[in-house]
Assembly symmetry: C2
Amino acid sequence: MTDAASLKHWIVDIDLQPPTLRNNTADSERLLEAIGEHLGKRPIRAELAVIRGLPARLRQTGYRARCVLFEDRDRWLLLDVLDPLHPTAALGLAVDLGTTRISLRLVDLQAGDILAEQTIDNPQVAVGPDILTRIHHADRPGGARDLQARIIQALNREIKALTATAGYRSTDVYAVSLAANTAMTHLLLGLDCRWMIREPYIPAVNRPPVMGTAELGIEVHPAARIFVFPNVGSYFGGDLIAGVFFSGLHRREETAILVDVGTNAEVVLGNRDWLMACAGAAGPALEGGVTRFGMAAAEGVIDRVRWDETGGDIAWHTIGEQPPRGICGSGLIDLAAVLFRAGMIDIRGKLVPSRCGGRLKNIEDIAHVVVAWAHETATGEDLMISQADIDSLIRSKAAMYTILETITLTMGMSLAELPAFFVAGTFGVFIDPVSAVTIGMLPDLPPKRFIPLGNSSLEGATRLLSAPGSLAEIDRIRDGITYLELNVNQDFMNRFSAAKFLPHTNRGLFPSVDF
Amino acid sequence: MTDAASLKHWIVDIDLQPPTLRNNTADSERLLEAIGEHLGKRPIRAELAVIRGLPARLRQTGYRARCVLFEDRDRWLLLDVLDPLHPTAALGLAVDLGTTRISLRLVDLQAGDILAEQTIDNPQVAVGPDILTRIHHADRPGGARDLQARIIQALNREIKALTATAGYRSTDVYAVSLAANTAMTHLLLGLDCRWMIREPYIPAVNRPPVMGTAELGIEVHPAARIFVFPNVGSYFGGDLIAGVFFSGLHRREETAILVDVGTNAEVVLGNRDWLMACAGAAGPALEGGVTRFGMAAAEGVIDRVRWDETGGDIAWHTIGEQPPRGICGSGLIDLAAVLFRAGMIDIRGKLVPSRCGGRLKNIEDIAHVVVAWAHETATGEDLMISQADIDSLIRSKAAMYTILETITLTMGMSLAELPAFFVAGTFGVFIDPVSAVTIGMLPDLPPKRFIPLGNSSLEGATRLLSAPGSLAEIDRIRDGITYLELNVNQDFMNRFSAAKFLPHTNRGLFPSVDF
């Protein structure tokens, strides 16, 4: 580790001693041995295609070689040998293959810079928006191949476009680093995933082998390799391993926590000595999937709500400063916090008619609160949140808090001790921790302890491209994770019930929520 | 090494613990870990194609797996998983890829038995009988590809025929083990060999990577791998490494010697602690390439000559008991010994007219000795050996002896101390060591110390198929060989001159030649 960690990039320039009668080692071994010295004597392999071009290349460059390296488990790989005086580009591609969205990022392997980035819809959504539908589709004749082809075609199209945008060719890409949840990983690799959804929920593979991209039909450099992040099981995927890798949780002396919030709340607690993970249904409220006006972050979506002291009323902000047409997770949490502070909802989350004033509307016997008036919105009708929406949000936040509480309790800790709380995903970027604490969704820590990670899956995949020698570290994260099955017993239900209040039945846990 | 050496065959039956909710390791890792335990924790890899079929296969067999393994450097490979109750065959193919002839041998990887064998002409002979012509041909546009295609096509044709003969399919072959000299190795792999014939004579590769056979277009099982024996340099190839591997020279406590005789005499001296090698031109006399009637061993070729005490004359034997049409290396050495013992040639190898009687003929002022009379031969004309032929043989035997003497002297030893003298190739099988000693070609050791190895290149390749875990041993042989450049200085020339007598100027070196 230590020696190869001193390698700054995957590209290494090597000056060789030219051969003589007394030093007549073959071209390939001469170069591989010199690279091996650079890597702290680690084994390194060159494929036939590289060896084939080597004698001419070395004699043309006077035995100077710009080597494109990559790492496989147990050994390193020499992918290509460029002329240091007339080098062609050597790029890497980081991919976050999400269930709904795919993010691609192009990296210069020589300089480490990010060159271009793109996010597209996952074309498998046309088959089914959720993973379960796709796994069933994969079980039909030709289904797995169809799902795999959709991803590969989309990747190839985007790689072509992305490299062209940045002024390169797709064949300049030598390394692909891809993170995805376990099901998406299996669908990408064309692996059988029918046993992942049947007890005892067994994936085909935990650590996909480092492969030639050609084997998957990914159209980049013919020698290119793809690393797919390993998973802990069917419900804890490589996207989360990439997130931990990016956060550095596994390198810290002090215990910290990482949370990735989606339909599931996925949590990792730990430090450099141990890692514990669990996941639980947090409900879709936070993804904007349930409320009538809920939607994912996009132009015209309310992402911030605050209490306007001057007007003594609700004030909102939309992405792109457009007239509002919906509200996303961070907006919803802000809104709940604002309503709670204003007394418009009580500690059970129920709308208080006396405090809501004109913003309260009853529609089909269900109380609603108007967030934006018809004359302000994009649709020309009132943008409202119903009591049912708020109830749903409260169930989600309670589930989230209960999961956090359970995993820390299991380790004999309290949430208040945590010196760092990593929040992964776009959720973590947009959410206002003060609002989340106010409603008791996140524990009552000083705001600066909450560290948003952004798309930590994509960031982790990117990090591999600029941190040679990280495979063992990533595998250690995976191997070190103890997965805690959430046992929904009476204790859990009691904690859940206590968390269904705002911010919590035990107000002592939330000293900062002091109104 | 030690653990995997306990593995008897490349096929291993594994019984797995079925997964449970508490033991939910993925199918691939579950199997690989169990195999790893078998191999003394060595790393093992499964390709995507194997992982793809694994979930269904394991559930079909109740988690019993017949695993087809192979070894790569740094790690093992899981090539396929068969059903132990309904297994298909798993075969290996050993190949000796010679400059003139190709030998193939089919081995049952499960039982270790040899199933079938075949030897064919190397189809590259049509391009050029010698390596140099072929290397020049490879340098022309399309030349390398043409030479490679000739070999691959021949291999595919013979693999199909050989497997069919033995009642199998070519897709039953999972492992190919191939030994060849350095040039043939390069031509097989399509590697640039133009620098092998230019000073300082550098090959493209010393240790070809273990490859998928598909990469070379060899039509066997799609997951099959090919191991190509490593070389020490342009003039010391994998065929010789395979020979040492087969002989066990590198495992013996006492120093022994191995000689492979062809146009070059290739010699390895050593023991389990060190190995020294050299090669030198021995002249083509021993391959039947020079004398008018000289030919390789075949039907109707004189392979044995003795002195018939009853008739007081030369007596010969032909292969297949056919009328003679030529004489091969072993016949020629016997003949020289017989002529020498009978006084028909003197210690300088000159024909003695007074002792040759009617067998002496002068043609164009050159003395000839008749070996078989016209009425006895297949051609209807006298089968003769000329003084020039004998001179050529004596130069060859002198060169051979000088090389043997030089390498042992370099190590401060004498030839007489050697407890074992391995003679590789068909030469070693046919040659009568007593005759070779009589003319001073081989040192004067007791006959039982000479151990013929047969086609040691093919035998070494075969051994790998029945000795899992040998790659490191083979690489250690290669890495351990010190190559001695024969320095043709005055000392060497003096030794060569002394060896040009029969058996030697210093008769004390040949006490058994006591007539």
